[in-house]
Assembly symmetry: C3
Homo-oligomer: 482 residues x 3
């Protein structure tokens, strides 16, 4: 008797890799039949991806992907973090670096295959299976023994023209793809991309000003200066800074942006007296503001973002509750987004009250609330979205984008707020090849959830069919004004 | 392909509205068979409703209901909040007003039917279906096209004598119905009602002193004065105020009350030194107490309520954790209870320690703990109820009275505290016609839960049958001393 | 129609007590078939119990158990707390006392049987059923009418030599059993036990220094003194105290200990400046340290425990979040561990950051995190264990060791961190006879969970078989270095 927790898999080399057509549908045969019917309705619909991290430049360049490791392993902190937990040093995986020399890339790939069993039960495994199977034609389960063979298969496939970024964009049937961008970005890549006749996907930028709102962080003054220059405005005063932010938002709107995205540890939105805001802005530029002053200033600026959204129409998405860079030695060595951003509790009811009292019923204002704290779905988010016409509940995200948390979310939110207050799925991924698998998982789970409601006679079948179609495409279009 | 999220339903007019006999029972055929057997045992038992908001005066007057909108739509914030979230102004729904002129009532009803799809997945939909089907004989699903027809059907039915309040009370087989009342209420309506020979339901008042315990709220001094006059006691001193509360509780007990109900943002119960209590009472009457003083005073008074309960036997129910009136502009225009009370985290373990150390093992003291924060069911409430003979876990309430939260509650509480520590279902509703549907949903879910335990061989069938009967009627009678 | 909530069971005497072979396996027939196959793979594997409370002396003495009540009722606060909640005084149950005179023991047993229905739905009922059935041959359900008969059956059986502690140890197939011990314990019982040829179980002590780290508690100075004497070191200085702790840990390691166990209200690990630590140590010995100083000192000492673990290799287990002795009058009368330790929210992300930044990637360091707050499984524990090679998620514990919380845990943790980051099951029990039933429940639930993954085509069957074996035995061996 052998076991593999964690360590090496002992399954015979050559174990098959297959995708069952009913995967992720409910096990009960009656419910599964209904779920299949609902899933068939949406499986081939185009993808709308209103929030993600694929860079526009990648699509503009349209270069072939270099190798399996730099495409599928190195940049994906979902993958590297679990290998790290299993004792694999991040440097052996090329984290924080570009494409590796062939021998190193292959060695890193072997580490992945050798530890394949550690992904059992996780959505990473489901996405990875789907990518290997559907995009690269792999039919063998990764293991130490099959690692080199698989590397060769994927590497060979990457040389094909139909595996280039734009070809994949078409093949994935992505109708809309949002990128995430610095407010100072000139968006030239987006502009250029719009002129490519073979790119029919609507690629839109997203305004992500987090760093500019955190006046207590090192380097903030330099960023304010950069922003002022980008906006051709003197941002050294509070009023100039706000004008610069407004100007850059306009620039984004002119380049097709539909939303601004905000990720801070909390989402307090208490207003500051303008005189105080001016004073703290000046102090912070000189590095003399206290932590409580810069915190209050950030909360005030987040409220300002909502005010601007009422004017320029950008949908506002909030993603609080992640303590970034938990293990400082790793951040210093490998950079940000290396697998140790850890969630904390999040609070929305009190934090958003100032914002919602001011703008919560403003016509056309859309506020999409994401969370890493699943307890707020039923306690805070659904009740807020069930009253305020501006508020939508963002899909389960990051650590919550797995089958059980998605199922919990479906129950927790819809039983208070129905289906009309959901944002629809977002993939939020930098792993380009995983986009179809992620949306497919979401559609399967939507179908399964609705099938359960039909099976319990809580919804008629025609209503479930209409609802599953709405969730897949129409709802994200409506919420993100696409 | 059309979708409806949210907006107008496109389902063909004339889609049928039906109630499946197995609705809300588990989908697995084997478990469903067991659940049916358990549900059959309780489906026709009388209703015990120990906490709700139907006014006694309604039953005393026994006037016909005016129209569908004022009966089913205007007063029900579960319904109006989701319409508001969908962009329907509250004024168009007649929120905060009495019966509307016919044209406006009909227009509001059309808005409801037009947005019928936004209730999919929510319990409101289930209750509404049951009311329309069972009480009003409706067999057509609401939609924009069927709105007028349905309005006419319901309006015509309302003219029938068997749709008057008392007739419904009998038809619904309500054995006990608790109202919620101001401590200054003379309870004349309750007294008069007891003399009506055709009212066999036991209608009992509930002592609800929230406003009198919040010394920091505007108007508190006037309420203290009112209370003093109602009790024929000078309530301007702390001792007189406490005596007045005791006196009014006695008045309630003499008029059949079995419980006092308490809803504050938190449930701290730290005692104050009597000298401090006297000082803060005097300061607060003059509007000179600080917020922290009035908070401490409220916590002290809540502890006093427990002391009085040990003396006069009223069951004490606590409903903390709702931030009332989140959107102040709506409160100012439409009043309280208009759909934007939003939950916050709640804490019981530390907050109740002073109260439970004093009175937790007092013979005959009953404390029923409700929550809007589902995380405390397993973490705090079940462990407390699993030790203190006075503590019972209140049924899932308000935002939690839906199938998935009820199922979560059943697991979370019973696997630590068993069934004997549950309060039994409460409907807590002001929507009179929804009472049978709400209790029926609860019985179906109890049957389904117990069927699951039997199917997994965790309970024998005879035990499940005994338990489901106990939960439906005997347990609320025992916990609420009925 | 009769009911039993709570009160007396009315089921006819003589109702059978049986254990269904499929108990706790999923109800769906297809999933159950898979679950049976997986459970068969592990049902007969030996038991590894790396954390519990059976005293080594019990095994060394190997005396027959005295009577049913002192074996199965008096010491088990899972049982006595629910009886207490049902109105049975703890003194009538002999809580806090040794074996009772026959008449009292029998009377207490009758109280248990009379209130048998209050355990419905709880795991206590499942464990108790299994113990009565498998160990004592009982085939009749406890009730008031069968109480005396059952008492006699169990009492008679206890006289058999094969019911002595060591015989049970063999019969239960316990490969490893950890005890929990005071740092001053000389571990003579463990030493002597190792020389008994008929004890093939590896019985290992566990270092539990809680009381020594709480410098604010009454009696701390005396304990420091005791520790110094046990370590032959002057512990009156901070440096001497730390040296004494190191020395006692070495003593434990030399006697086979593999872990240290820590239960404090929170798990802050902020370091203190050594000068401050020296100052607070001295102040606290004189009873002059403030609560905030002793709190900071405890957090510093917990960090020191991690430092020592990196040196001596003891696995560190943390069990925060229980407010001990909620009802002080009961503690004063009956002692600790009498059923009213009540959970509070727990926080890990921020609290452990200082510890993990220092030691989180130290080779060989193992930190197992337990919780009573189920919300942290997905929000904090799985993300931490999914990055840090030192961190493992402890099995659901205490109030969470029931089927639904275990199922919630399985989803919440594995979908983020896979199976390789789990500690494997721990029983943490002082109820010796319940050990096999607890591990069996865990294996059944593991089998059911994995069967669900296979049924939804998220895992292949060969992988599930390998995983269920790993969880049962290999994973606890690896995590606890056994």
């Amino acid at each position: 008797m052998t076991t593999t927790l964690p360590g090496r898999t002992t399954v015979p080399a050559g174990a098959p890799l297959a995708l069952h057509p009913d995967r992720l549908l409910p096990a009960d045969p009656g419910v599964r039949g209904l779920a299949r019917q609902l899933y068939d309705e949406v499986r081939d619909l185009p993808i709308v991806s209103p929030h993600g991290h694929v860079p526009a430049q990648l699509l503009l360049d349209d270069e072939p992907f270099t190798d399996p490791t730099s495409l599928l392993l190195q940049p994906d902190h979902y993958v590297t973090r679990l290998l790290h937990a299993s004792g694999v040093p991040l440097e052996d995986l090329g984290v924080g670096r570009g494409p590796l020399p062939e021998a190193q890339a292959r060695a890193a790939w072997r580490l992945l295959c050798r530890h394949w069993s550690v992904f059992r039960g996780t959505p990473v495994r489901l996405w990875f299976d789907a990518e290997l199977h559907d995009i690269f034609g792999v039919r063998t389960r990764p293991s130490e023994d099959t690692a080199d063979e698989l590397y060769d298969v994927v590497a060979a496939r990457l040389a094909d023209p139909d595996l280039r970024p734009r070809a994949l964009l078409r093949r994935f049937r992505i109708d809309v793809l949002a990128t995430t961008d610095d407010p100072c970005d000139d968006l030239a890549a987006h502009r250029a991309l719009r002129e490519q006749p073979d790119v029919t996907t609507r690629v839109v930028p997203t305004f992500r000003p987090d760093a500019y709102l955190e006046a207590g962080r090192p380097g903030w003054a330099a960023q304010v200066d950069r922003l002022g220059r980008a906006a051709d405005t003197d941002a050294s005063s509070y009023d100039g800074f706000v004008a610069a932010l407004e100007s850059r938002r306009r620039h984004f709107v002119e380049h097709g942006a539909v939303s601004s995205d905000h990720s801070h540890l909390d989402i307090g939105t208490e207003p500051m007296d303008p005189a105080d805001a001016r004073r703290v802005h000046a102090l912070a530029l000189r590095g003399e503001a206290t932590p409580s002053e810069t915190l209050a200033y950030r909360r005030h600026l987040l409220l300002e973002m909502a005010r601007m959204a009422c004017d320029d129409g950008l949908v506002m998405t909030l993603h609080p509750g992640s303590l970034r860079g938990h293990h400082d030695p790793t951040t210093r060595r490998f950079g940000a987004d290396t697998g140790h951003d850890i969630p904390v509790t999040a609070e929305y009811t009190r934090a958003l009250r100032p914002l919602l009292e001011r703008y919560g019923t403003h016509a056309g204002f859309h506020l999409v609330l994401f969370t890493l704290d699943a307890t707020v779905f039923s306690r805070e988010l659904a009740p807020l979205a069930g009253f305020y016409p501006s508020v939508f509940v963002g899909a389960p995200w990051w650590f919550l984008d797995n089958p059980s948390d998605i199922r919990g979310f479906q129950h927790a939110v819809t039983e208070t707020a129905g289906f009309s207050r959901l944002s629809g799925f977002i993939d939020d991924t930098r792993a380009f090849c995983s986009i179809p698998a992620r949306h497919d998982m979401s559609r399967r789970l939507d179908a399964g959830f609705l099938a359960g409601l039909v099976a319990e006679h809580r919804l008629d079948l025609d209503e479930a069919l209409e609802t599953v179609r709405g969730l897949s495409v129409d709802q994200p279009r409506r919420v993100f004004k696409l």
